[in-house]
Amino acid sequence: MTLQGWALIALFAALVGLTVRPLGGYIAAIFNGTHAPPRPLGPLERGLYRLAGIDPAAEQGWLAYATALMCCHLAGIVLLYALQRLQGLLPLNPGQLSAVSPDLALNTAVSFATNTSWQSYGGETTLSYVVQMAGITVQSFLSVASGMAVAIALVRGLARRESATIGNFWVDLTRATLYVLLPICSVIGLFLVWQGVPQTLGATVAATTLEGAHQLIARGPVASQEVIKLMSGDGGGFFNVNSAHPFENPAGLTNLVEMLLIFLLGAALTNTFGRMVGNERQGWVLLGVMAVLFTAGIAVVYAAEASGNPNFAALPIDQTAGTLQSGGNMEGKEVRFGIASSSLFANVTTDSSDGAVNAMLDSYAPLSGLVLMANMMVDEVIVGAPGSGLFGILLFAIVAVFVAGLMVGRTPEYLGKKITATEVKMTMLALLAVPAAILGLTAVASVLPAGLAGLSNNGPHGFSELLYAYTSAGATNGSAFAGLSANSPFFNLSLALGMFIGRFMVIIPVLAVAGSLAAKRGVPVSAGTLPTDSLQFAGLLIGTILIVGGLTFFPALALGPLAEQLNAGSLY
């Protein structure tokens, strides 16, 4: 590890911290309707409602909210599926790419509608520009906007008293897209173009290399997809190697900006939460918990990667950092990014549900792989995707106050609401959906020939490849461990099922909790109320997250990355 590496990590954390309050306040004002819509977006918003026949003043109960969300994503899945199947007949297809196979098209459609962006394909060789722009990019916007809408609905449920409604899904979706996502994407998109990211409808370029070889250089409308790819928690790259490709991530500066984009909204939403419930400290506590878990993760991964490959210890290989080499485990990493930046990116992307990568995770040390999987397995509450990270950690907060209530024999309360059996049942349904999808599907794939056929490694590493794939799907992350040949009907369909469960079987109980809490009257703070804006509660929340995640997934992790690390003969 180097001082420069830690300085980069500290700079990144500081920059994220600086954006939390202003952006969180802006988002709160947008969803509270207290921020005057900027021109020309205000008239555009009203025009969209008129066009769709939506009364923005008409709020919905949680069931109507959930039904609207499901209808929205049903349309998104069908549209993206149709675009892929018909791409051979559609314009903006200079590579003359043919229709995507049905199972791959379904996997991709579900993947982007669920904010996962698992990719069983290479973007530049599979999808035409019209599918990338009108399909992938549009779903990236809609999936993150709906995640933010769900989180805001849950916060309203906590903030409101004796209310039958939690907001209007269509209004929340529109406001998130128009006032939060589009402005940021427009500005940062231009920045990326300035830094060298292509934005063109021109075809692949044929080039002759210095050695005289012929090479096809893929390009396309990359910059417009790149920003929402990162900011949405989606992570689906235009190119197969994602942010390791110089056209997606050309330089150290873009690498830093890309990591910031991944955490930008998820971190800011904690402040939005604090403001909407009338106590910003509540939001800082959640952000503090995320920061502690993030720091622990990056410390382990950076140390593991910087210490190099233990299998090389007996060989005449110098793995120490020096002026001429970065040292450590550089397999699968871009030389221009190095150990610290790659380790940070991998942590950020698995903490956040984004799934973009700037290095190949299959080549990370097993201990790093364990941490990256664990980041996703704790329901991606370490910042998380915009919206899903916030409602995920709020679910754990409900479990934490419930556990605290059990310990003192008192009905648990959170933010002035009594937490009763209904909320605990719904919370557990949401929290169990992801492990059920991950562990159930991994178990099935581990014994079926169709699952084993995709592996390129045996033993613990092969198991890690399977576990990582279903973890990535179930936690709606989308990053790939690599090494798994996932473009087969079995993997395409089973991963699609994992993504569907991991997204919607969580969102529905979350909205049920929101509706149930909104209907309750408030209870006054008393001497017996557990203060949830304290360090004590932060510690309880960290313990709850680690124990629930640890107890659920430790056996699977022991069979995969932990066994592999111990086989290597050393923990570091």
Binding site: L74, L106, G515
Partner: protein
């Protein structure tokens, strides 16, 4: 074409299942409220 119909049917079934799941959650909440009265 048949595969396309199967895929669309799978999606419709999954979404219908999710909405039915939401309704079951709603019923559970109502049952809990009744039990508390």
């Amino acid at each position: 074409m048949i595969l396309d119909l199967i895929m669309v049917a799978l999606v419709l079934t999954a979404v219908a299942g999710a909405i039915a799941y939401a309704r079951a959650c709603s019923q559970l909440i109502q049952d809990d409220r009744q039990a508390l009265k």
